[in-house]
């Protein structure tokens, strides 16, 4: 005779609950207690199951029931995601406010996608076709500029018995398989499992951001990974907004993971006001926000990065380019540490769990450019992951920063000192690096200019020389240097002020096309070469720097793209004639 044991709570310690008699697999989602709080199985020890709870556990008692949903923590993917604001486990925050008021009450739930909203579905497959995971069933025009492609969930396949166009909500079936299984506009996916792709591609195309220091000096590839450290007051928010605004990706996923409530409010109030430059529509129409502030439950914070990543992957599977920003991954790491210490696990470095590096690597590995699953149309999508780190005490040797740098290929070193000097974007050109420059060089040669990579290398060399000269200058003053080296300082300054600095609030300067970037840098190098020659012919540095063309070069950033070519010609001509005059 089978005895059915009822699962119940055995022990409660903060966000960690131990249940007995529960038949569950790892990472299964369970509901705990009378209030049915959401939790996730994170350890199994004989008949004891250890669960992390996504909500405040005060008031729970041993003996209260525990139920297994039988599935891992999953989120709903379908039309209605765009412009939504979710918490770490995909509860829609505006809806929660409407239902429960200004504070997040316990046990509150709301469907992630509005169940009553009807979408105009256009079927693109015919009845009787055999489809498999990732195939497009049809489309929904979700916002004015984003067409949501309705996919066959990965791992599903079959022959379509019935499918029709028309108005459907996410609850109503749009068709059925021969097997009788119903098809819907949305499907569920477990957040901790990467969505499959057909083939991962090498990152060979740059993500164009229109920011000169990023695109030219430290480019990130589509599908690449980058880390930004965010010390206090270094202008991190502006950079993130610029990336969201100008990157040539269609979808933006922003994860506010354990950050300040008021900062999140800033994002929530400013993003809807930002206009998409290409379409003029609000940027929110192609954005999904995940907001899990520092005082919201720690387990949901831990889950929030996975929730965001899964949404990003879902849009990638539709063939879109997605940029994912996680702010900040340090808070995520700390959430892991907190839960790990509740589990009394053996700690690794600084109390972080030993699996910290593995988790970070797993997360960043889900980024990438790939051929999407699906047989009826070849699509290429990408997820570019940009993670902010907040090293405690500004100490980069701490485990999260170190382990992040080990995986990410680009490092944009935001520097508070530069920000104080009003140098924006305040990315330090000496500390930053990009490992994609080599892989992308072919693309630059083919699409921009054959000597693009040499021009970049020359600029970097000058900046490098400047920094070593600066040390001497601080001691003896720049006048004490030989003329040749004074010239290097002059040119480096021109690169810094005329090229690296970029005004995010200037109408023209906010975005700079790659062609213009190249031409600007090339003009500076040309100036450098002419100046070099003039110097060799006996002209003094002060005479060279007094030339009119220098300030013209410095102001090229503010010339509109459409006038740029003619303006550049003028500047170049002026440069040549002026140098001819000084060198006699």
């Amino acid at each position: 005779m089978e005895i059915k044991t009822k699962a119940k709570i055995f022990r409660i310690s903060g966000p960690v609950v131990v249940a007995t008699g529960l038949n569950a697999r790892m990472y299964d989602l369970v509901t705990v207690g009378e209030e049915k709080l959401m939790g996730e199985v994170i350890q199994i020890n004989r008949d004891k199951t250890i669960i992390q709870i996504y909500e405040e556990t005060t008031g729970l008692r041993p003996g209260e029931p525990v139920e297994n949903t039988g599935a891992p923590l999953s989120i709903q993917l379908g039309p209605g995601l765009l412009s939504q604001i979710y918490d770490g486990v995909q509860r829609p925050l505006p809806e929660l406010q409407r239902l429960k008021g200004d504070f997040i009450a316990r046990g509150a739930t709301a469907p992630a996608l509005d169940e009553n909203k009807k979408w105009e579905f256009k079927a693109t497959v015919k009845e009787g076709t055999t489809v498999s995971g990732g195939d497009i069933l049809g489309t929904v025009q979700e916002t004015k500029f984003i067409t949501h492609k309705i996919l066959v969930p990965p791992k599903k396949n079959g022959k379509i018995k019935k499918i029709e166009s028309g108005k459907f909500s996410c609850k109503e079936p749009i068709g059925t398989f021969e097997s009788g299984e119903k098809l819907f506009l949305s499907h569920k996916w477990p957040v901790r499992t990467a969505r499959p792709v057909k083939e991962k591609l090498l990152p060979q195309i740059p993500l164009i951001t229109g920011q000169r220091i990023l695109d030219t000096l430290f480019p990130i590839a589509k599908g690449g990974t980058a880390a930004i450290p965010g010390p206090f007051g270094s202008g991190k928010t502006v950079i993130q907004q610029q990336l969201a605004k100008w990157s040539d990706t269609e979808i933006v996923v922003y994860i506010g993971c354990g950050e300040r409530g008021n900062e999140m409010t800033e994002v929530l109030t400013e993003f809807p006001e930002l206009r998409d430059v290409k379409t003029g529509a609000p940027l929110m129409q192609r954005t999904v926000l995940i907001a899990n502030t520092s005082n919201m439950p720690v387990a949901a914070r831990e889950a929030s990065v996975y929730t965001g990543m899964t949404i990003a992957e879902y849009f990638r599977d539709q063939g879109y380019g997605v940029s994912l920003m996680a702010d900040s991954t340090s808070r995520w790491g700390e959430a892991m540490r907190e839960i790990s210490s509740r589990l009394e696990e053996m700690p690794g470095e600084e109390g972080y769990p030993a699996y910290l590096a593995a988790r970070l690597a797993e997360f960043y590995e889900r980024a990438g450019r790939a051929v999407c699953l699906g047989s009826n149309e070849k699509r290429i999508g990408s997820v570019t992951a940009i993670g902010a780190v907040s090293p405690p005490g500004g100490d980069f040797s701490e485990p999260i920063t170190q382990n992040t740098l080990k995986i990410t290929k680009v490092f944009w070193a935001l520097d508070a000192k530069l920000a104080q000097k009003r140098h924006f974007p305040s990315i330090n050109w000496l500390d930053s690096y990009s490992l994609y420059t080599k892989g992308l060089s072919a693309w630059y040669i083919e699409n921009i200019a054959p000597d693009f990579n040499e021009v970049r290398a020359t600029a970097m060399k000058i900046l490098q020389q400047e920094s070593s000269l600066q040390e001497i200058v601080q001691l003896v003053g720049s006048d004490a240097l030989p003329e040749k080296e004074q010239l290097v300082l002059e040119i480096a300054r021109l690169i810094r002020e005329g090229f690296l600095q970029q005004n995010a609030y200037h109408e023209v300067d906010s975005y700079c096309s790659l062609e213009k970037q190249y031409a600007m840098l090339k003009a500076i190098i040309k100036y450098a070469n002419l100046a070099q020659r003039a110097l060799e012919n006996g002209t003094t540095v002060s005479a060279i720097s007094a030339l009119n063309c220098k300030s013209k070069i410095a102001k090229m950033a503010f010339v509109a793209e459409k006038n740029f070519e003619s303006e550049l010609k003028k500047v170049e001509n002026e440069m040549e004639s002026e140098f001819k005059n000084v060198s006699g």
Binding site: S13, L96, D102, S294, P392, A480
Partner: protein, 514 residues
């Protein structure tokens, strides 16, 4: 309500009780010692053992003590009557007044504000202290901590802010003291009484000899009271929490007693989350006129700003006000060092609509000029003030005046923002007008006319600006003085090196401590 006599173990502030009925996590517990009753809270509960942290300390508890589980969580009796009262760290009256008759009983842990329901803070809050109002402006709904050190007058500043804080629509103050001495507490109460501020203030007192565990509840009590006043009675509430360092020590103490795996410097790994659950209770809610603004005060152990307490605090709060021991030694009150201080929400609360159009630019200019003056001090110490160029001497003089005129003010001196801005302008006039590169010329024009400013005029001559040390080497001919600049350089590099090595040794120290 069931009672038990099954205490199996007592360690530090913790009780282990066996064979109970299912006890709720976070439940309030009473422990009857026969002659007195102590209270506590459930920290960990299972079918076998319940762990209780005792607020009043475990002295006197034995295995015969009777433990009663109340079935309730910790709640605070809230009503408007709280104003003008002095309560204990657990919310019991300390002023011989009557118990508070509750209008609402609220869970002290509160709930997280839905990020979507938050409104962005942007209303200027005047503290009457120049260094805060002009340089590190506080806005309604912000959390701006004061980073202090032992022996610095942070409590005096806190009291001054509590007395002087003004915002449109009136103000209430909730003052939570954690682990302060009896003497300090009496001074606080006296000050509040004398200045008449007490009637709009609620004070929660947890003294140094009160049990450490009680400290964990005190700030939550205070914030619950603040939220009640803000969101039920639409008041603007300023919460002052002093001293958060004592709070964190208590947190560490409990962690150690529970034999938890410690994080940095022995503080528990969840300290960030725990602190966030306090600091994040500041803010504004859309559609509500009340607000909660927080000024937590903490003393940095060893004046070390990278210590976990200030560090984690800085990551949650929106900026920090840093006190300087050097200014304090020079007799300057309030000894606020504006250079490392920061208010992240400042830009939202200043300018034409909030304070005055010149606020942003002139505060930037003051900051830049003071920073320059301060960095010149090091140099002046080596080469002597006379050796500096006239321009540099002006900056040195400016930095000095800035400290003695702008930073320095009486602890009863309540400056309006207009007064503060005008003092700033008078100081800027010590500099040549062309040095004010961060202010628009039209604004300089306007205010120099309005305030009758006469900007410093450099004596005619001066070669175009040259690196200063270079000037010396050019103007001095003799061998002996030619050696001087080199020595300077040497001294400078040596200084730098020693600084570096200092840093290094500090780092090593930190490592060793770990």
């Amino acid at each position: 309500m069931r009672e038990y006599k099954t205490i199996s173990r007592v360690t530090g502030p913790l009780l282990f009780i066996e064979k109970t009925h299912p006890v709720a996590y976070g439940e309030l517990v009473e422990i009857n010692l026969g002659d007195s009753i102590k209270s506590g809270q459930v920290l960990d509960t299972s079918e076998e053992t319940v762990i209780v942290q005792v607020f009043e300390g475990t002295a006197g508890i034995d295995r015969q003590s009777i433990v009663k589980f109340t079935g309730k969580t910790i709640k605070l009796n809230c009503s408007k009557e709280m104003m003008g009262r002095v309560l204990s760290g657990l919310g019991k009256p300390l002023d011989n007044g009557p118990e508070i008759i509750p209008d609402q009983q609220l869970d002290v842990n509160g709930q997280a504000i839905n990020p979507f329901a938050r409104a962005a803070p942007k209303d200027f809050l005047q503290t009457g202290i120049s260094t805060i109002d002009e340089m590190n402006t506080l806005v309604k709904g912000q959390k701006l901590p004061i980073f202090s050190g032992f022996g610095l007058p942070h409590n005096e500043i806190a009291l001054q802010i509590a007395r002087q804080a003004r915002v449109d629509g009136g103000f209430a103050v909730v003052f939570a003291a954690m682990g302060i001495t009896n003497e300090e507490a009496q001074q606080f109460i006296m000050d509040f009484e004398q200045t008449g501020a007490l009637k709009r203030t609620t004070i929660f007192l947890n003294l140094a000899d009160d049990p450490a565990v009680e400290r964990l509840v005190t700030p939550r009590m205070a914030l619950t009271a603040a939220e009640y006043l803000a969101y039920t009675h639409q008041m603007n509430v300023l919460v002052i929490l002093t001293d958060m360092t004592n709070y964190c020590e208590a947190l560490r103490q409990i962690g150690a007693a529970r034999e938890e795996v410690p994080g940095r410097r022995g503080y528990p790994g969840y300290m960030y989350t725990d602190l966030a659950s306090i600091y994040e209770r500041a803010g504004l809610i859309k559609g509500k006129t009340g607000s909660v603004t927080q000024i937590p005060i903490l003393t940095m152990p060893g004046d070390d700003i990278t210590h976990p307490i200030p560090d984690l605090t800085g990551y949650i709060t929106e900026g920090q006000i840093v006190l300087s021991r050097e200014l304090h030694r020079n007799g300057i009150y309030p000894p606020i060092d504006v250079l490392p201080s920061l208010s992240r929400l400042m830009n939202k609360g200043i300018g034409k609509e909030h304070t005055r159009e010149d606020h942003r630019a002139s505060s930037n200019q003051l900051y830049a000029a003071y920073a320059e003056g301060r960095s010149l001090r090091g140099l002046a110490a080596i080469v002597g003030e006379e050796a500096l160029s006239e321009r540099d001497q002006r900056f040195l003089a400016f930095a000095k005046e800035f400290e003695t005129v702008f930073v320095q003010q009486g602890n009863k001196e309540n400056r309006s923002i207009v007064e503060t801005l005008n003092i700033g302008w008078k100081l800027l006039a010590l500099l040549p007008q062309n040095e004010l590169t961060r202010i628009d010329d039209s604004i300089i024009e306007k205010y120099s006319k309005e305030l009758g400013l006469l900007f410093f005029k450099p004596k005619a001559k001066e070669e175009p600006e040259v690196e200063k040390i270079h000037v010396i080497s050019q103007t001095t001919g003799s061998n002996s003085s030619e050696a001087q600049p080199q020595d300077n350089n040497k001294a400078k590099t040596e200084k730098q090196q020693s600084k570096n090595s200092e840093k290094k040794s500090k780092k090593q120290k930190i490592k060793k401590r770990k």
